[in-house]
Symmetry: C2
Subunit: 224 residues, 2 copies
Amino acid sequence: MIKHHSSPQNIKAAVDTCILSIQDDELHVLLIQMKKQPFEGQWALPGGLLEEEETSEQAASRILKESTGLTQVYLEQLMTFDEPDRDPAGRVISIAHVALVPDEHASLKTSEKYLDVKWWPVSKLPPLAYDHKTIVQTTLERVKTKIQYTNIAWSLLAKEFTLTELQRVYEIVMDQDLDKRNFRKRINELHLIQATGHKRSGQAHRPAALYRFKERKLVYVQVV
Amino acid sequence: MIKHHSSPQNIKAAVDTCILSIQDDELHVLLIQMKKQPFEGQWALPGGLLEEEETSEQAASRILKESTGLTQVYLEQLMTFDEPDRDPAGRVISIAHVALVPDEHASLKTSEKYLDVKWWPVSKLPPLAYDHKTIVQTTLERVKTKIQYTNIAWSLLAKEFTLTELQRVYEIVMDQDLDKRNFRKRINELHLIQATGHKRSGQAHRPAALYRFKERKLVYVQVV
DNA sequence: ACAAAAGTGTTGTTACTACACCCATGG
DNA sequence: CCATGGGTGTAGTAACAACACTTTTGT
């Protein structure tokens, strides 16, 4: 029920996007370094005000494209952060989103909107503006639980990957080692992936078979 | 990152609250019948615009108090619904919340804001205004999964309850029958509840022992 | 005495965990 | 031929599912 008679509401709606990727065997978050006063030099999640005719998901998608150039990635709404004093410049609520992107596409788009755009390992984040530290923490919890009962691991991998790479995605996100044989047995039972017939050679050891996900969209399955 | 230079944003932020309760052995949602044109007579979730100095959770709590008189209940943010055309009167995003209330407190507060306020069984809902049907569905999914890995069942029960009543909460929310002995064994192992020493007598059968939850706040445990 | 729900254990089956060696390649 | 990660099976254990009768009360 909406009150249409109330005095004009002075609240703005923004979207912040927490973009995660695995690089160098570690989870990384994409952060931008702010240009605008009084936040100049501070690191923050990429975001922006919601525009009149877009959904928050479209806004998150737009922000993702602006900062990474990526378009087809996993994206979901996280939650809305709405503490009245979260932005010192006025009342702004943030409809936070999570994006998961594969390493191969993790190149960054330079932009004149920001001083810098950079991947940061989640274990060594700089101080963040606003309540963005909370948003990152909430994102990590969400992804950690969701990787256990869905196939979202596809979103962090290239189209073709080895079983060891897949296992590392789980281990890195869950921050927990897994048994190689048990993991492979489980993955095999679930029929989520299929062998491509290709092999990854060129390294000084036996080449690994390459696999792909049958579906690169959200499927609910108990993996771990 | 917020753009502070943009032209004034014409988006309003509202909060809708999906209040659930178990009555007559079935899940019910609290709906209000709208007074205002052009929605007169339509049923909807109770809600209202977010006020300047309150969080969305405080707004949900306020709405809950207005429609039921309840103050101390389980409340959590569901998600934000932000389709541009979800409200024909203008751009209004809804930060939807879920509230779970026990049957004993499910009496309703009359209000001059609405034509009527009523509990509806989730299996027989009337047509709902806006996107409120989606909000109710999303709520039901959330509660159904969350009751399986937390102790939120406490929020749907009176302070004292029998084991059969507790089991029925799980069965009704999950829409699935459970085995009595296995359920009791599991509940017993988890140490979530304790016997009060009281008994529920007055019925034409053996009186059931009454229990209470040790903690009436969110605890993560795999129950089912 | 009868109806109605409360209360209570065991057993077979399935799923999970722990664990070690050979293989294929590049250098 | 050596170093490196790839690839594979089994056995013991723990968790889960299925199942039926006795007890206590009110009428």
